[in-house]
C-alpha cells in the first residue's frame, strides 16, 4: 500500500474541485450552532465578524500556497524546516489533531441524533456502522473522498435555502442599528467564528493530490468565499429570527428554525434537515480522517489501510470516554481553540520559517 506516499496522476483531482473540498471540510457540525457563540461576543453585529474571519482566512489560504509547492506537502515542509526528527514529531501531532477533529465532529453529530431524533439510540452500534462507512470511503482513495465532498456541498446549499423561513417570520429591525457593539468585540468574535472555517489546514496534506496545484489558488479562494457567504446568510437569518437573549438559550438555532417549517407531507422539517446534514458531517469527517491517515502514513512506513483501521477502532472506542454532553462541549472548545492558534499562529510562523530556511539554502548555493 505504499502507492499513496506520493500520488500519481490517477489519484489526482482537478484544481476546480478545491471549491467543493474546501467547502465540505469547513461546513460541519458548527453550522448548526455557531451563531450562539459569536453572538455571545459581538451581539447583533457579529455578522461583521463573519466577514472579517472570511477575509482573514483568505489570507491564510494564500499563505498556504506560498508554503507548499508542487508535489510537496506538510511533511516535506516540516522535515525541510525542522529537520527529520522534530519535523516528523510535529507532523505526528498534526495527524493526531486531524483524527481528533474527525472523531469529535462525528460524536457531536450523534449527540444531535440522540437529543432530537432517537432518545434510545445505541451509540456504539451506530458508531461501528459509521466507521465502516468512513473506512469504505477513505480506503477508496482521495478521489472517492472528494466525490463525497462534492456531493455534500449541494446538500448544505439545499438546506441553506430553508433558512428563508427566518426572513418571512422574523424581525428585520433586529439588525439595526449597525455597529452598535464595539469594534473590539467584533474582532474578538473572529475567534469563535474561526472554528467554522477550520478545514483550510487540510490543504497542506492533500496539496500533492491536486493536479496543477499552483493554479488551484483561485478555486480555493472561491471556495472560502462561498463558505463566508454561506455563514453570513445563516447568521443574518438567525439574527432576524431570534433575539440575542433567546439565541443564548438555544443550542442549535438552525434546528429550532426548521421546526416552524411545515409542508403538507412533512409536519416537522428538522427531521429531514438533520438526516440530510448527515452527508455534510460524513464528508467533513472523511476529509479529516483521510488527512490524518495520510499524515501518519507519510511519516511512518505503516500501510495506509492499517492506520485507517486502527484509528477507526479508536474512534469507536472513544464513545466510552466521550459520553456526555459536557465532555463533547469541552472537547469542541478545546479543538476549536487549538485550530484557531494553528490557523492564525502556526501557519504564518511556518511561512516565515520556511522563507528564512529557503533563503539560507539559496545563499549557500549562491
Amino acid at each position: 500500500m505504499n502507492r499513496q506516499q506520493k500520488p500519481d496522476i490517477t489519484q489526482m483531482v482537478s484544481p476546480f474541485l478545491l471549491v467543493f473540498i474546501l467547502h465540505a471540510s469547513q461546513i460541519g457540525e458548527g453550522i448548526l450552532s455557531f451563531e450562539r457563540q459569536i453572538s455571545k461576543v459581538a451581539g447583533y453585529d457579529s455578522w461583521i465578524s463573519v466577514l472579517l474571519t472570511g477575509l482573514a482566512t483568505t489570507i491564510i489560504v494564500i499563505l498556504i500556497w506560498r508554503i507548499v509547492s508542487d508535489n510537496n506537502d506538510l511533511i516535506d515542509v516540516h522535515s525541510e524546516v525542522f529537520g527529520k526528527v522534530i519535523g516528523k514529531s510535529i507532523s505526528f501531532l498534526f495527524g493526531l489533531y486531524f483524527f481528533s477533529v474527525a472523531i469529535t465532529v462525528l460524536r457531536s453529530y450523534i449527540e444531535i441524533i440522540q437529543i432530537w431524533l432517537f432518545r434510545d439510540l445505541d451509540v456504539t452500534l451506530f458508531l461501528i456502522i459509521l466507521y465502516l462507512l468512513i473506512l469504505y470511503i477513505v480506503l477508496g482513495g482521495f478521489r472517492i473522498v472528494v466525490g463525497f465532498a462534492f456531493f455534500s456541498v449541494f446538500i448544505t446549499l439545499f438546506l441553506a435555502i430553508f433558512n428563508y423561513a427566518a426572513f418571512s417570520n422574523g424581525y428585520i429591525d433586529n439588525l439595526l442599528p449597525i455597529l452598535n457593539s464595539k469594534w473590539i468585540n467584533i474582532i474578538k468574535g473572529i475567534e469563535p467564528m474561526t472554528f467554522g472555517f477550520l478545514g483550510i489546514e487540510l490543504i497542506l496534506i492533500y496539496a500533492p493530490f491536486i493536479h496543477r496545484f499552483k493554479t488551484g489558488l483561485k478555486w480555493a479562494v472561491i471556495g472560502n468565499g462561498l463558505t463566508t457567504i454561506f455563514y453570513l446568510f445563516s447568521t443574518l437569518a438567525m439574527f432576524v429570527y431570534y433575539n440575542i437573549e433567546q439565541l443564548q438559550k438555544i443550542t442549535w438555532p438552525a434546528l429550532q428554525l426548521w421546526k416552524v417549517i411545515d409542508f403538507p407531507f412533512v409536519e416537522r422539517f428538522e427531521f429531514i434537515g438533520i438526516s440530510l446534514h448527515f452527508i455534510a458531517i460524513i464528508a467533513s469527517s472523511n476529509l479529516y480522517f483521510w488527512a490524518g491517515t495520510q499524515c501518519l502514513h507519510r511519516i511512518s512506513n505503516i500501510s495506509f489501510k492499517k492506520i485507517a483501521i486502527l484509528f477507526s477502532l479508536i474512534g469507536v472506542f472513544s464513545v466510552f470516554y466521550i459520553n456526555s454532553f459536557l465532555m463533547i462541549e469541552k472537547l469542541t472548545t478545546f479543538i476549536s481553540k487549538f485550530g484557531v492558534y494553528l490557523l492564525f499562529g502556526y501557519i504564518p510562523l511556518l511561512f516565515i520559517l520556511r522563507t528564512i530556511v529557503q533563503g539560507g539554502v539559496k545563499n549557500k548555493h549562491g
Binding site: N169, N243, E245, K249, K259, V260, R268
Partner: protein, 317 residues
C-alpha cells in the same frame, strides 16, 4: 464468489439498521393532541391534562371521541410519565397541536413550565398557546359537540383568529417576546361557554405573570397598534349622529417615527369599506372627511388609553 460474499455482508449489515432504536408504530402509541397545565397553589404542583383522540377498532367509530388523562406533579416530565401509567400504550407528544395554560397558572407565573416545554425537542415551535379561563382541565374535559375533535377545534379557532382578531402568537413568538429585552408576551384567552368555546380576551404578561387583559371590544385597537393587519372589521358608534356603522375589510399599516430617544410616534394608516350605512348616506367628500375625522379621533383616544394602561402596568410591547 467475491460478489456473493460482499452481498452477504451487505445484507447482514441491514440487520443492524433496525437494532439501533425502538420502533414506534402508530397503532401502538398514544398520540397526545393537546396539553393543558394548571397550577395547584395548595400543593405547589402542576396539574397536567393530556387529550388524545380515541381511535376505535373499526372505521365507523366516531372520531369526535377523546380520552383525557390527568396527572399531578412538580415537573413536566413527571406528569408525562404519570400519564403513562394510565394509558395502554406509551404516550408520544410529537403531534401536539397546542398547549393551554390555566388562569391560575398564568397568574402564578409560567417561567419554569415554559423552559421545560422548550427543552423538549419533540414539541414543535409553530404550535399555538392560549390561556384557558378558569382551568385548562375543565376546558379540555368539557364534552361539547365540535367540528372534529376538541383539540383540532381549539387549534383551528386559534389559527383562524390569529389571522383576523388577535395578533399571531405561536410558541416561538412567545419565547421571542418572553426572553427578549423590552418585550413582554401576550396570549389569547379562551373560555368554555354553554354553547361552545369562544375566544374572548387577550391576556398580557409582565415577565412571566399575566397581569392585565382586554376584551373583544379592544381587540381592534390593540391589533392595529401592534401589527399590520388585513380583513378586519370595526364597529363605530358615531355619537354625533347617534348611529352605529360598520367598517369592514380593513387593512392597516404601521409606521413608527422616533421623535427623540424616549418618544415614539406610531402612525397607523387604515383603509376600509363602509358597510351597513344606508341611512347615513355619505354622498359628498365633505361628509366623508367628517366621518374619517370622527373615526380617527375615536381610535386615537382609545389607542392612547390602551397605551397609558400598558405604561402604568409597565408592560412592554
Amino acid at each position: 464468489m467475491v460478489n456473493f460474499k460482499k452481498l452477504l455482508i451487505f445484507l447482514l449489515l441491514l440487520l443492524f439498521l433496525t437494532a439501533c432504536i425502538k420502533t414506534k408504530i402508530l397503532d401502538d402509541i398514544e398520540l397526545i393532541m393537546m396539553f393543558g397545565y394548571d397550577w395547584d397553589a395548595s400543593n405547589e404542583e402542576y396539574i397536567g391534562t393530556a387529550v388524545s383522540p380515541m381511535y376505535g377498532s373499526s372505521e365507523e367509530s366516531d372520531l369526535r371521541e377523546n380520552t383525557e388523562y390527568m396527572a399531578r406533579a412538580k415537573t413536566i416530565q413527571n406528569i408525562n410519565s404519570k400519564i403513562d401509567t394510565q394509558t395502554a400504550n406509551p404516550i408520544e407528544i410529537g403531534k401536539t397541536l397546542g398547549i393551554l395554560f390555566g388562569e391560575k397558572l398564568v397568574r402564578h407565573g409560567i417561567h419554569d413550565i415554559l423552559l421545560a416545554i422548550n427543552e423538549d425537542p419533540n414539541i414543535g415551535r409553530g404550535i399555538h398557546l392560549a390561556i384557558a379561563r378558569e382551568s385548562a382541565e375543565s376546558l379540555l374535559k368539557s364534552t361539547m359537540i365540535t367540528e372534529g375533535t376538541l383539540p383540532r377545534f381549539i387549534e383551528k379557532l386559534l389559527k383562524n383568529n390569529a389571522k383576523t382578531n388577535v395578533p399571531d402568537m405561536n410558541l416561538h413568538d412567545f419565547n421571542y417576546r418572553f426572553l427578549g429585552t423590552g418585550m413582554d408576551p401576550f396570549l389569547p384567552i379562551i373560555e368554555a361557554t354553554s354553547s361552545g368555546i369562544e375566544l374572548n380576551g387577550i391576556g398580557f404578561f409582565k415577565k412571566d405573570k399575566m397581569i392585565y387583559e382586554i376584551g373583544y371590544d379592544q381587540f381592534f385597537e390593540f391589533k392595529i397598534l401592534y401589527t399590520d393587519c388585513e380583513d378586519h372589521t370595526y364597529q363605530f358608534d358615531w355619537e354625533e349622529k347617534e348611529q352605529t356603522i360598520a367598517i369592514s375589510s380593513i387593512s392597516s399599516k404601521i409606521t413608527k417615527k422616533w421623535k427623540n430617544r424616549n418618544q415614539v410616534e406610531i402612525i397607523v394608516k387604515i383603509n376600509g369599506t363602509l358597510t351597513e350605512s344606508k341611512q347615513l348616506g355619505i354622498r359628498s367628500f365633505k361628509e366623508k372627511a367628517k366621518l374619517e375625522q370622527a373615526i380617527s379621533q375615536k381610535l386615537k383616544e382609545e389607542g392612547s388609553k390602551l397605551i397609558t394602561e400598558f405604561q402604568e402596568l409597565e408592560i412592554d410591547l
